[in-house]
Subunit: 213 residues, 2 copies
DNA sequence: AACTGTGAACGGGTTCACAGCC
DNA sequence: GGCTGTGAACCCGTTCACAGTT
């Protein structure tokens, strides 16, 4: 049990540590220092140490961290000892990209449903998964005990889908639609807007270019 | 010209303001208050005002902000008066999802190339765009004056692709591969790891569920 | 009265620097 | 000597609260 509460910023980096720890284990590395983790993640070494200190004191002074044991601890703290069943709503390119993605399994996630409203898509297979009609949302979420869902629909229906998901019992949403999702307290939402990411780059790009003739 | 430098956190929110401003203009809204923007973006009103104050003093006390004029200013600051030619490397589902995405144009971005190494994909058309061989990367970037590129390849080749992109003159990268990208100073990188996003949700989900029997 | 613009207070997160342990 | 763990200092971003403007 973590004694101190873990800061949000730290929580957001834990999955990155986990990713490189898994790589390191694969390469046969037994121990790793905060410097090693820093290089592999792009996070500064002091920050790595402070982040890991929130989980407990799992390092050995003069040596570093045991890769396997630290992996276990990070997994545990993130709640990734279990495999979360995830539903994806929207079987456009993005939804299919996610459904196809290998490597979720190793990272504690399994896509158990891919729903769409377009009848021409329903029945198609994507990465071993059948596209099902969005009308089945409620039943699917309940039967497959989905707690985390991905919204990969057009913005125009995203809010409505979010409400149906929450109504069915989903309490975590990852939203790719370019629109704000309102949810009741107690439900988490993370949003990724691809155009926004590119537009942020545009700002810095503009500064670089500005002044050239 | 902005007098004060604009904080990173503010820059990251400007595209979101832009998005809702465009929606509001579409709905015929002439002016909007910081409260209105706050509701539509999920950002708190004081933060909205402070953010916008970095661009200049474009509001009217007692009234709010002129939607059209503010849109123009946000666009200008973000460097989105021009349309940036963007290249995508990797024509898997994710690359194709991006290439297909409508609404980039309105938001100052145009996908001008979609490159892949798989010969079976080359020559296919995606959203009016031809998939071209990655060998052409250097030529394509130079000829089409690409400054911003998207990496949608497997992690194993992402660093190599990044280096080729930078070598060809790209100075902003949006990376979807689950791996750290090292670039020389003066190049911007933003990374989006879809599994990481889900794993962050897992943490909060776990806390919610913990203690249930 | 409504709403912006902003100093000032606050809080969280980052980084430093070093004591403590192997 | 090498590396962790952490108080303390610092920095950035957020929020408050109100003076200023229409």
């Amino acid at each position: 049990m973590p004694v101190r509460p873990i800061p949000e910023a730290t929580v957001a980096r834990l999955p990155v540590y986990l990713r490189v720890l898994l790589e390191m284990a694969e390469r046969g590395l037994k121990t790793v220092s905060s410097n090693g983790l820093a290089e592999a993640t792009g996070v500064n070494p002091a920050k790595v140490r402070k982040d890991l200190s929130y989980l407990g004191t799992y390092g050995t002074r003069g040596v570093g961290y045991d890769v396997e044991y630290l992996t276990f601890q990070v997994r545990r703290v993130l709640g990734l000892e279990q495999i979360w069943p995830v539903a994806i709503v929207g079987a456009g390119n993005l939804g299919r990209a996610l459904a196809n993605h290998k490597g979720f399994a190793e990272r504690g996630l399994r896509i158990v449903a891919l729903l769409d409203s377009n009848s021409r898509r329903i029945g198609q297979k994507v990465g071993g998964l059948l596209i099902e009609p969005v009308e089945e949302l409620d039943r699917v979420v309940k039967e497959r005990e989905v707690a985390i869902a991905v919204i990969a629909t057009p913005a125009s229906v995203a809010q409505e889908i979010a409400e149906r998901l929450v109504g069915a019992g989903v309490t975590s949403l990852l939203n790719f639609a370019p629109t704000l999702i309102n949810v009741p307290a107690g439900v988490s939402v993370r949003s990724v807007d691809l155009a926004v990411e590119l537009q942020i780059l545009s700002y810095y790009e503009e500064r670089r270019t500005a002044g050239r003739s």
